[in-house]
């Protein structure tokens, strides 16, 4: 009985170790593989009241932050064709949470009052095969700034987080 339990535990441990090794292999194979990235305008989850100008700004910030990583040879907009179609990523996402906050509260009260927050679920997809390579939740916030800080600055924070994730996951 005890021997069976030990045998079962060893089998489970081996299975977990094997799965972990497979993930590392997958992660290793995508490092430095992709030269281009297509940034697709994010969708908005039902019930989330994100103003349309925030969505446009978010897309522009994502393109800009990806360019500023200086890791990708090409940063493309939705609809553009990469030079090498076999080594391009596609970034998609869905905005899952938006708190508009208040600039006046941030300026007059401070201490975290009136915080603006945007949360998005992002996916990095192989553009050629459609395989989802990595997905995660990221957020951007405005807590303080000049005269409370511009609320739409949360899009820049989120874009910077996305760029950081892309650099970490796909480049050494």
């Amino acid at each position: 009985m005890v021997r069976n339990k030990m045998l079962l535990s060893i089998i489970c441990l081996l299975a977990v170790a094997s799965a972990s090794a497979n993930q590392k292999d997958t992660a290793a194979t995508v490092k430095n593989k992709y030269k281009g990235i297509e940034v697709v305008r994010f969708e908005i989850k039902d019930g989330v009241q994100l103003p349309p100008d925030y969505l446009i700004t978010l897309t522009e910030e994502l393109v800009k932050q990806m360019q500023e990583t200086k890791k990708f040879a090409e940063v493309l907009r939705e609809g553009e064709t990469p030079a090498d179609q076999t080594s391009a990523l596609k970034l998609t996402g869905t905005v899952t949470e938006f708190k508009p906050g208040s600039r006046a509260k941030r300026y007059l009260i401070g201490f975290g009052a009136g915080k603006t927050k945007i949360v998005a679920h992002i996916k990095f997809v192989d553009r050629a095969t459609g395989e989802v390579l990595f997905e995660d939740d990221v957020d951007g916030k405005v807590i303080m700034g000049g005269m409370g800080g511009d609320s739409i600055g949360a899009t820049r924070g989120l874009a910077k987080e996305v760029a950081k994730v892309a650099s970490k996951q796909f480049f050494k």
Binding site: R41, Q49, P51, P52, D53, L55, I56, T57, T59, E60, L76, R77, E78, G79, E80, T81, R103, A104, Y107, L108, M147, G148, D150, I152
Partner: protein, 171 residues
């Protein structure tokens, strides 16, 4: 001699048409009409997002012609988009703070004037979806004074751009 010279100069001036009131009046309506049908210029438009190299909240002139939408700062054209490449234009109401006035009031009154941050003024925000030369989807967000937003909407609609109003309940 001097008299003859003066008469000759006067005759030359009149014949050039510059000094002729009748000729000028005939030409003026034509020039104004030409100006109004060719372009609509909206000054002091705020750029919010979408134009590469132009800072957020900077101001410029929006020029709408029968074929193009141009954002210009001084004499420099920052972007020119053919109206045929604009997929849709969405007009929504927006608000802006009086940033400079708030800052000045806060400085002048040792911080008390900062209460002005609670004051906002209404503007029209218009969001454009268009394609660039490579077929890529681009967006642009501009803000104008309320009275100018409707003019822009009518102009774009007149020249075939799909103009949308926000769904009920949306800002």
């Amino acid at each position: 001699m001097r008299k003859a010279l003066s008469i000759w100069l006067l005759a030359a001036w009149v014949s050039s048409g510059v000094g002729s009131p009748l000729q000028n009046n005939d030409r003026l309506p034509e020039i104004q009409q030409q100006a109004t049908t060719e372009r609509l210029t909206v000054p002091k438009v705020f750029h919010i997002a979408g134009i590469p190299g132009v800072p957020r909240n900077s101001r410029g002139d929006l020029i709408l012609t029968s074929g193009d939408l141009i954002f210009q700062q001084g004499k420099k054209q920052r972007v020119s988009v053919p109206l045929t490449r604009i997929k849709k234009a969405l007009f929504v109401s927006g608000e802006r703070h009086y940033e400079r006035a708030t800052y000045a009031a806060a400085v002048a009154t040792f911080g008390i004037g900062a209460i002005l941050i609670t004051k906002k003024h209404k503007v029209d925000t218009f969001i454009l979806d268009y394609t660039n030369e490579r077929g890529g989807l681009m967006g642009m967000v501009l803000q104008t004074e309320i009275k100018d937003g409707s003019k822009c909407r009518e102009w774009l609609s007149r020249f075939g751009v799909q103009v949308e109003e926000p769904q009920s309940g949306a800002k």
